[in-house]
């Protein structure tokens, strides 16, 4: 433990105060406010809030639309995570062989992370629109094959592809860093024992990459719950017929379009619990993230 401290605690207080004030104002207060709203109901015409216990939660959980939204979120989470993690893992393993052109490959895989979610959403919405470009041609060849404006499954598929495309870069960066922190001597020892490249990938690199893998997996799932707003809003706006109405989008809609603060707050609390649970799982693996160095 460190002993060489500065003694002036007033300076310390001054240093941490701005951050604490910000965090209190924009984090702790709003979070507790959400709890308060979730358990109360605002009376019309400024009648103040009355305590309603778990009524808001009961109303939410009794609402089939909410369950649809949970289901859509799960489909999106599983779909986009599986795609993004799978593709990124494969690319990282092969890029890590560092053949000629390695630097070019690396930049080529990283840049999509820089693109804003709405820009990704808009680009993919154009690519998948039945009214222009390639998909119009597909529909010309096979009439009525592709129409995400009516078909919820197709709309979900295109949101998943866009979300996964955006996430590949992030996962690639982490997988590559994870692979490169594996001591080279281990791989050399494997090579000495006569293990070929793919054998070394299977028996040395992949097992040692497991902590990174779980970390990335959990981050992807968490992100798909929280970060999907930009893509959904620009691509499908939750439609058609709420097929892509993910939880975070439904909160936004109910809260700001429907002005149902109590309902939105109750949904926020449920989403918060979900994200907190995922974060706890993640902390378990953060501890072990670098255990092999």
């Amino acid at each position: 433990m460190r002993r060489a401290y500065f003694k002036n605690n007033w300076v310390a207080a001054l240093m941490v105060a701005p951050q604490l004030i910000l965090v209190f104002t924009f984090f702790y207060f709003p979070t507790s406010e959400a709890l308060y709203w979730a358990f109360t109901l605002e009376q019309p015409w400024g009648g103040g809030n009355t305590w309603v216990g778990f009524d808001n939660f009961a109303a939410i959980l009794g609402d089939p639309y909410y369950w649809d939204s949970i289901w859509a979120s799960i489909v999106y989470a599983v779909g986009s995570t599986a795609l993004a993690v799978g593709i990124a893992l494969m690319l990282a393993i092969f890029a890590d062989r560092q053949l000629a052109g390695y630097k070019l490959y690396r930049v080529g895989m990283i840049w999509p992370y820089a693109i804003a979610a709405p820009a990704v959403g808009l680009a993919f919405r154009f690519i998948f629109t039945p009214g222009a470009g390639i998909m119009m041609y597909v529909n010309f060849l096979f009439p009525h094959l592709w129409n995400p404006v009516d078909n919820g499954t197709q709309a979900m598929a295109m949101v998943i592809v866009a979300g996964a495309w955006k996430q590949v870069a992030y996962n690639f960066i982490f997988f590559l860093a994870g692979l490169q922190s594996i001591p080279r001597s281990l791989i050399e020892a494997g090579a000495m024992d006569g293990a070929r490249v793919l054998r070394r990938v299977r028996d040395i690199q992949l097992p040692l990459l497991a902590p990174t893998f779980f970390f990335v997996l959990v981050i992807n799932i968490t992100d798909s719950f929280t970060d999907s707003f930009g893509i959904v809003d620009t691509m499908t706006a939750g439609g058609p017929s709420r097929a892509t109405n993910l939880m975070v989008y439904k909160i936004f809609n109910d809260g700001f379009q429907g002005l149902d603060y109590s309902g939105a707050a109750a949904q926020s609390i449920i989403l918060m619990l979900l994200v907190i649970a995922l974060t706890f799982v993640q902390f378990r693996y953060i501890e072990r993230k670098v255990h092999y160095t």
């Binding site: 460190r2 941490v16 406010e33 820089a114 860093a177």
Partner: protein, 308 residues
């Protein structure tokens, strides 16, 4: 490594090139669409080669989305978030690491927990705070009875109000109020050898002098890493600016972009102006791509160390 694997090398290149194409293809289609007239974009069979209308479409998108003004706003917000975050994280981590007080760990955890819940999941109540940033303090005063006390004693009713809607402060502050950078700085400060602190003290340097003359020059790498990440993060903000800004002079670029085409669920109307929208998409995504590619090393380091 040591062995010769000609076949596997070809397979490796093939897979990597396929991956590159997978990532580049959507952007290629965007560029193609942005370089044609609307008529050509909706043509059957589709045009798969770039046309000659790119410059015209870029200009049209620039004018239609008022992208010049939006660039300025977005740049100011990005710079604000970037600087604010770097300064705040640095001094907070300094206050936690280099001083000995009982509140060290509680304060660290208080800040660290904010990593758990991103802005998106607490968006509704945070919006209420943005409408009046003093609301938390007002509530504290009300609950603790101070409002009542002051009112009874002096007849003055305490009413704190600070509306953050449609302001740079409202755009920037909630984006800064997380632990991302603080954590990065704390990790770095913990690696600074004790002897350095002792030497500084022996030379008569106070804490501020130590921070300014020793820590900040040493943390240049950290600053570069954090700056890159925060720039991209702020530039790409969508949900928060969408809510806090109603006055167009504060609109941010990602929000403006989404207005170039009608909503997906909107029925009727004309064909969306895809060529203009795609040109706008190109313009909007360019600055962060340039930053990420140019600052690649710092960006990767920052991303991995902050666990964002």
């Amino acid at each position: 490594m040591i062995e010769r694997t000609p076949i596997l090398n070809i397979v490796t290149h093939a897979i990597l090139v396929f991956g590159l194409l997978l990532l580049l293809l959507p952007m290629y289609l965007v560029i193609v669409a942005a370089s044609h007239s609307l008529q050509d974009v909706v043509a059957v069979p589709p045009n798969l080669l770039p046309g000659d209308q790119l410059w015209i479409n870029l200009q049209a998108a620039w004018a239609k989305g008022h992208l010049g003004e939006r660039f300025v706003t977005t740049f100011i917000v990005s710079m604000g978030v970037m600087t604010g975050k770097i300064v705040l994280s640095c001094i907070t981590a300094f206050g936690i690491v280099f001083f000995d007080h009982r509140l060290k760990m509680p304060i660290f955890w208080l800040i660290f927990i904010t990593l758990m819940l991103p802005l998106e999941v607490r968006i509704v109540p945070t919006y209420a705070v943005a409408a009046n940033a003093f609301l938390p303090f007002q509530t504290l005063l009300d609950l603790s009875g101070i409002t009542w006390l002051v009112n009874a004693v002096s007849g003055v009713e305490i009413k704190l109000e600070w509306n953050l809607l449609n302001s740079y402060a409202g755009l920037i502050m909630p984006l800064i109020a997380t632990a991302t950078g603080t954590f990065l700085y704390r990790q770095f400060f913990l690696t600074i050898p004790e002897e350095l602190v002792e030497a500084a003290k022996m030379d008569g340097a106070g804490p501020m002098r130590f921070l300014w003359d020793v820590l900040i020059p040493l943390s240049r790498t950290n600053i570069a890493a954090l700056a890159t990440i925060m720039f991209v993060y702020a530039w790409n903000q969508y949900l928060w600016p969408l809510l806090v800004v109603t006055d167009q002079s504060y609109a941010m670029i990602a929000v403006e972009l989404s207005r170039l085409v009608p909503k997906f669920t909107a029925t009727g109307g004309e064909v969306p102006k895809w060529h203009i929208a795609m040109a706008g998409t190109l313009i909007v995504m360019l600055p962060p791509i340039v930053v990420v590619v140019a600052m690649q090393r710092w960006f990767v380091r920052g991303l991995i160390n902050t666990d964002k």
